[in-house]
Amino acid sequence: MAYERIHPAVLVAYFLSVMIPAVFTLHPMMPLMALAGVVLLLLLTEPAPPRVRTIIWMSLLFLAVVITNPLFNHRGRTELFFLNGHAITLEAVLFGLRNAACVIAVLLWCHCMNRFVTGEKWLAILGRHLPKTALLVSSAMRLVPLLRKRGEEMRKSQQALGLYGDGDAMRQLSGGAKVFSMLVTWSLDHAVSVSASMKARGYGLRGRTTYSVYRFRREDAILLTLLIAADALVLTALAGKALSFDFYPVLNGSRNALTVPGLMTYGLVVLFAPIWEGRNRLLWNCYRSKI
């Protein structure tokens, strides 16, 4: 995976630079580009083809957003037809399409971010500035699956010891409550021993440092600089109303000197991930053929 070698902070910065501008402007090109980029990225990186269920759900969501907007929003001048005495306008349909594309694009980018930026990487980012919080999050992340496992084990054992009786609801309920209260006791007990083990290894001494396996390399610095430059341009365009777009009453995009450079830069940012992935894949094939 080409993303394994990018520093988590740069990764997060990248995903935010893709998602934020797409949400904060109504320009229809933005979500379309974001959607195109993420679809390409998914085609290149997704290990298994998406399940039919996922595709169906996504399509349903898309349709729902597209349909609801013109049904409840009757602004816009270009009337297509009337439904129950209300006008369904072209502008409202297009606005629905734009929103749907935006929702789906952000969902898919989030999915990618989740896959590339694992919990451990979030902690590495947090750890620098909020070491205590990072440690807390880390131990919480450990505790949740542990608690679930303990609860399941206790439930099974108690079932084999007849705590739940022969299936009558009252016994089941009181048994469940007993197991739950014991689980709470267990977690307190666990917390005490963990804190003992922490103290034994010097937790609480002054001058704690944090360690991370991720190093900020030259490549990361270059990528981050480029990203910041691109972001600056896109944000300036956003602030300068270069990417503003009105759907109502009629479609009307504002244009100035920054519109085209802004859109192009955003397009480059969005396409960066699939290009980077594709390039690394090509390179890899190249190296492999030489081995």
């Binding site: 079932q159 103290k199 440092t209």
Partner: protein, 577 residues
């Protein structure tokens, strides 16, 4: 050089009537390996915790502890944190972080080590301990043995001078325990760390030790080399039951000379015994007849009886599984595959096998917790599926789970015991049953405690009392001897004997071969998803040369058929007669 000096240490817990430790005095030299032994609850843990300043329990303390010449009262907390490492019993409750590398870096971070130094030190430790392949794994996904290795590595990142270990292998299976102890020995030998370890597994640990300390009821009753243990053992010290098979045999035979510890030494001793007697050929025959006389005949008789009747009457089986398949996930691997086994009424059946061979799964299926997706299971002649929900757990089967903590659901042990009794019985009678059952296992003193305040061995005991109070026809035990000292094992054996008289069927899953050898009627080996090699106990152990008891390996070709020390002794006596 003396690293640790303890003088006249007496310690009393608040509200306790008598001190947990009385007048303990000893020194530990730098670079030595000291084993601390004694029965459960004799004060081993208290002593170890007092040596680690941060974990010292509250209570009244007198006497002094000096580390490297400095009194504990004035010991710098940075020195104490980095130079004294401690490892406890439960692997899970010592891990702080979510991912392995975070855990390894934790102690170094606390001491404010620089990033570049941490990187080197963590890399060094991961390589040394063979952690590399799971360096990025989540700590929750590790096996118990890996967790305890991680805990050891995590303590070692600070390169401590003194390592305190409180029964670190009690929760591990024998293979993981062996790995852990050999890693510990390597750490001691190659890095020169001073080790002070409390441990039940004397068989594995004594060959590594320079020195042995024995605690009895809070007082130090023995302090010397491993050889000096010999005198105590010769006089029948309670420690004897936990000694390696060779040493036990040495005592039972009343041999002179050095106490043997390993199988090889034991075999040499036995050879010497044979050589000094009649010709080997004759002795062999004698031995065989002696064994058949000596073996606990009740067990063998029961087996032959059941074997005779087996073909005739299928209703005689307590549990019978045929061609059972089970998996945990739909796309997962079969944990049980074409698994068939038949457990006879009234017998004690021991199921042995490695980790992940499906032993516990099989037990859970019989207990009705898990449901196989193919094959048939019958309990006492009735299909498992035909039992109503909860009917099974009500007087038919009762399961002692691997983790005894799972058994308790109240804040007081006695309350849990009462909860296990049948509700139809009047209260006074229930109290009486509880009292009798607890007495039988020597657990009466645990009644008023909180279950989580008990030590691992005591929890096991209290849990077994609760399981027995369910009055099952088929008792299912999952690793009942895990973390137990030798004395309690004997008590457990007595209980099993009593259950046999009451013709309760017992199915035990265990790693403990010695336990199986002395208690089981028949033994089965779980392997590759099925139960193979179901045989009467003697046959099973004598036919195996590797997967067998230490006593059987010592007896070897000299006394074929003997699988316990007692049987070897009988054989030798038979030969001398």
């Amino acid at each position: 050089m003396e690293l640790l000096q303890v003088e006249n240490l007496t310690f009393t817990y608040p509200d306790a009537k008598k001190p947990a430790l009385t007048d303990v005095t000893y020194t530990v030299r730098e670079g030595t390996f000291t084993v601390l032994c004694g029965a459960s609850g004799c004060g081993k843990s208290t002593l170890l915790h007092l040596l680690k300043k941060e974990l010292a329990p509250f209570g009244k303390k007198s006497g002094s502890i000096r580390f490297d010449g400095t009194d504990y009262e004035s010991l710098d907390s940075r020195v104490s944190a980095s130079q004294i490492g401690i490892l406890m019993q439960d692997p899970d409750s010592q891990i702080v972080a979510d991912v392995v590398w975070q855990e390894l870096a934790f102690a170094l971070e606390n001491l404010g080590t620089e990033r570049s130094v941490i990187r080197t030190r963590v890399a060094e430790m991961a390589t040394y301990f063979g952690i590399e392949s799971w360096y990025h794994k989540r700590t929750g996904e590790l096996s118990g043995g890996q967790k305890q290795l991680l805990n050891l590595a995590s303590v070692m990142t600070l390169s401590p001078r003194l390592l305190l270990l409180d029964e670190p292998t009690a929760q591990l299976d024998p293979i993981a325990a062996g790995n852990f102890l050999s890693m510990l020995e390597r750490v001691h030998r190659e890095l020169g760390v001073t080790v002070l370890i409390a441990e039940h597994r004397l068989e594995d640990i004594l060959p590594m030790a320079d020195r042995v300390l024995v605690l009895t009821d809070g007082a130090l009753t023995l302090d010397g080399t491993v050889d000096s243990l010999a005198d105590a053992v010769r006089e029948g010290h309670p420690l004897l039951a936990g000694m390696p098979a060779a040493a036990r045999l040495w005592k039972l035979l009343g041999m002179p000379g050095d106490m043997p510890l390993s199988v090889t030494e034991g075999r040499e001793m036995l050879r010497a015994v044979c050589a000094s007697n009649v010709t080997p050929k004759a002795s062999l025959n004698n031995a065989e007849t002696a064994i058949s006389k000596a073996t606990p005949d009740t067990a063998d008789a029961a087996v032959s009886e059941t074997r005779k009747s087996k073909s005739a009457d299928s209703a005689e089986s307590a549990a019978s599984l045929s061609e059972v398949y089970f998996r945990y996930e739909r796309n997962g691997k079969d944990v049980l595959r074409d698994c068939s086994v038949d457990i006879q009424k009234g017998e004690h059946f021991c199921l042995l096998g490695g980790n992940g061979s499906g032993k516990t799964t099989l037990l859970h299926i019989i207990a009705g917790i898990l449901r196989p997706y193919a094959g048939s299971c019958r309990l006492f002649g009735k299909k498992l599926a035909a039992y109503r929900s909860g009917e099974l757990a009500n007087g038919i089967t009762a399961l002692l789970p691997q983790n005894p903590k799972d058994v308790f659901v109240t804040e007081c042990v006695k309350e849990d015991w009462l909860l296990a009794c049948k509700t139809t019985v009047p209260e006074a009678e229930r109290e009486e049953t509880v009292r009798r059952t607890a007495e039988m296992l020597g657990a009466t003193h645990l009644a008023d405690c909180h279950p989580y305040d008990l030590s691992g061995g005591e929890q096991q005991k209290a849990a077994l009392v609760k399981v027995l109070l369910r009055k099952p026809k088929l008792l299912l035990l999952d690793e009942p001897t895990k973390g137990l000292d030798a004395r309690y094992k004997e008590e457990l054996l007595a209980v099993l004997k009593k259950l046999k008289d009451e013709s309760v069927t017992v199915l035990t899953v265990t790693h403990d071969l010695d336990f199986a050898a002395v208690s089981a009627d028949r033994v089965g080996l779980c392997f590759d998803g099925g139960v193979t090699a179901v045989k009467p106990t003697h046959e099973f152990f004598t036919e195996n040369s590797f997967y067998t008891t230490a006593a059987c390996r010592i007896a070897g070709k000299m006394f074929p058929g003997a699988i316990t020390c007692e049987e070897i002794v009988e054989a030798v006596k038979g030969e001398q007669a």
